[in-house]
């Protein structure tokens, strides 16, 4: 069998700024200059209005758990030692939904609608993954 390492993001022209922002501890997404839509995943065209113009807008990092699963048996062996672990979709206050992980929260306390806020987890010197933790008090 192969031993596999966990994959790390390899940014493209469109997506690298997302990861570079994360490295600086910022959550940024493309916002369409024409219609204001937040583009996720990042891309050269707005899926709502086909405009090319955008800015890398800063997001609040606040949102709610939209859904989640607890993986007991990963289809990717590098994650097996983490099992059971959660993967989640967080709906940001600004609208976009990110795939992510919820940290600082026992698995049995996860609920749909739980308020969460972004945290930045350094997984390598040059790579940071945005994750989310429960918001203890409303902000």
């Amino acid at each position: 069998m192969f031993t596999l390492e966990k994959p790390l993001p390899r940014g493209t022209e469109d997506t690298a700024p997302f990861w570079e922002a994360a490295l600086r501890g910022e959550l940024r997404l493309q916002r369409c200059r024409a219609c204001g839509h937040y583009r996720f995943p990042p891309a050269v065209l707005c899926p709502r209005c086909s405009s090319e113009g955008y800015e890398w807008a800063s997001l609040s990092g606040k949102g709610r758990v939209f859904s989640w699963v607890v993986v007991h048996q990963s289809q990717y062996p590098a994650f097996n030692e983490d099992a059971p672990y959660n993967v989640a979709i967080v709906e940001l206050d600004e609208g976009p939904r990110l795939h992510t992980q919820i940290v600082d929260c026992p698995l049995e306390e996860l609920t749909i609608g739980m308020p969460v806020e972004v945290v930045f987890e350094k997984v390598r010197e040059d790579v940071v993954l945005p994750k989310f933790r429960p918001r203890r008090r409303s902000a």
Partner: protein
């Protein structure tokens, strides 16, 4: 849409050996299934002048797969192309076949598929997007778990419902000697099966399957001269979209495939209540829940009781997945479902024959739910006895 509907027929269906079949290539399965489907139709291979081959995902990016299949089959097709809609391809290929014949490009189309799920002994779905895989979100299972949790949250659906879907399919597999999973299953067995990606248990998931399937499409007139009773393609529908993570942010509806359903029923000129049986894409139990709602067969709130009362089994309101579904028969990307629908309408299903089956719905679902954005295709056929 739908001008081609009613003019074309599925004249032959076939599957290769399937299950855990190591050492056979995707091409090997494709050829086996193709030969059986063409023989089933009562045709010579050289009568095939159109070829649609499904790119086996495990192979990865290669060019000209369909031309290679044609070469192996010794064909000189006037229309030949590779298709990929994931698990929606079986039904989707039939749409394309009808269109190609309607356009006059060819007259007998073979839709062929084969896959070797574990060609190197390791899972191959490693390519996922940078926004998913880095979090350990791998493959369609996590995505399906997200969907199921939303189904349950929004409609207060009990865990038992998903168990009943699995138990119903497994019970149907008792009547199918070809099914991979035939050991009887109770609701208790279901609840004792291990978690894969909570809320999904092992028995919420279909078995990985090596194998192939093929379908022969031609005109109704031509089919009438062939070996089998004519099974007419009376309705088709497709829908393609980004689920859950929505690039436009506009789409909030939970149930996927409502557009495919509307188009399929409109082109067939039927309503859900007209159906005699249905083969619903069930790689995972939440997909059956989705399709029963999206295709207008039942309301979400009534599903658990309806399953418990046997409404979706033999003798009930609408028997679904009569061969055991992907959950029990095996996962040939929906080719098994098309085959079962055709066989029900031909009346050749012996122990599991739905009495006087005249109309069957077949649904397909597939794509890249583990990519960003998670995009999926829905496809459907309404098949009718001539």
């Amino acid at each position: 849409m739908g001008t081609a509907c009613g003019k074309y027929a599925i004249a032959g269906v076939g599957v290769s050996r399937f299950g855990k079949v190591p050492g056979v290539s995707a091409m090997g399965f494709t050829l086996e299934a193709s030969k059986r489907a063409v023989e089933d139709a009562g045709l010579e291979m050289r009568a095939v002048d159109g070829l649609l081959a499904v790119m086996p995902a495990a192979i990865g990016e290669q060019h000209g797969w369909a031309a290679r299949v044609a070469a192996y089959l010794g064909l000189d097709p006037s229309f030949c192309t590779t298709l990929d809609m994931g698990g929606a391809t079986a039904c989707g290929a039939v749409h394309v076949a009808m269109a190609a014949i309607e356009a006059g490009y060819c007259s007998v189309v073979l839709c062929a598929f084969g896959t070797q799920t574990w060609p190197q002994g390791v899972p191959l779905q490693l390519f996922g997007s940078e926004f998913h895989l880095v979090y350990g979100d791998v493959g369609a299972i996590c995505f399906t778990g997200f969907i199921r949790r939303r189904q349950q949250f929004e409609y207060n659906l009990p865990d038992e419902l998903y168990g009943r879907v699995a138990v119903t399919c497994r019970a149907h597999a008792q009547r199918n000697p070809e099914a991979q999973m035939r050991k009887p299953m109770t609701l208790d067995d279901y609840f004792h099966s291990r978690w894969v990606a909570e809320p999904l248990r092992l028995f919420d998931c279909c078995p990985n399957t090596d194998g192939g399937g093929a379908i022969v499409v031609t005109s109704v007139e031509r089919a009438r001269d062939l070996r089998q009773p004519v099974v007419r393609i009376i309705g088709v529908g497709q829908e393609h979209r980004a689920e859950v993570i929505v690039p436009t942010g506009d789409y909030q509806e939970l149930w996927g495939g409502t557009g495919a359903a509307r188009r399929a029923y409109a082109s067939a000129g039927i309503v859900a209540a007209d159906l005699d049986c249905a083969q619903l894409y069930d790689a995972f139990t939440p997909r059956v829940v989705n399709d029963l709602v999206a295709y207008g067969i039942a309301a979400p709130e009534e599903l658990d009781r309806a399953f418990a009362r046997g409404e979706f089994t033999f003798g009930g309101r609408l028997p679904v997945n009569t061969a055991g579904g992907l959950l029990s028969e095996g996962h040939l990307w929906g080719f098994g479902h098309v085959r079962e629908g055709v066989r029900q309408l031909r009346g050749e299903c012996s122990d599991r024959q739905v009495a006087d089956a005249k109309l069957c719905l077949v649904t397909g679902y597939g794509g890249a739910p583990h990519e960003s954005p998670p995009t999926v295709s829905y496809s459907a056929l309404v098949l009718g006895r001539d």
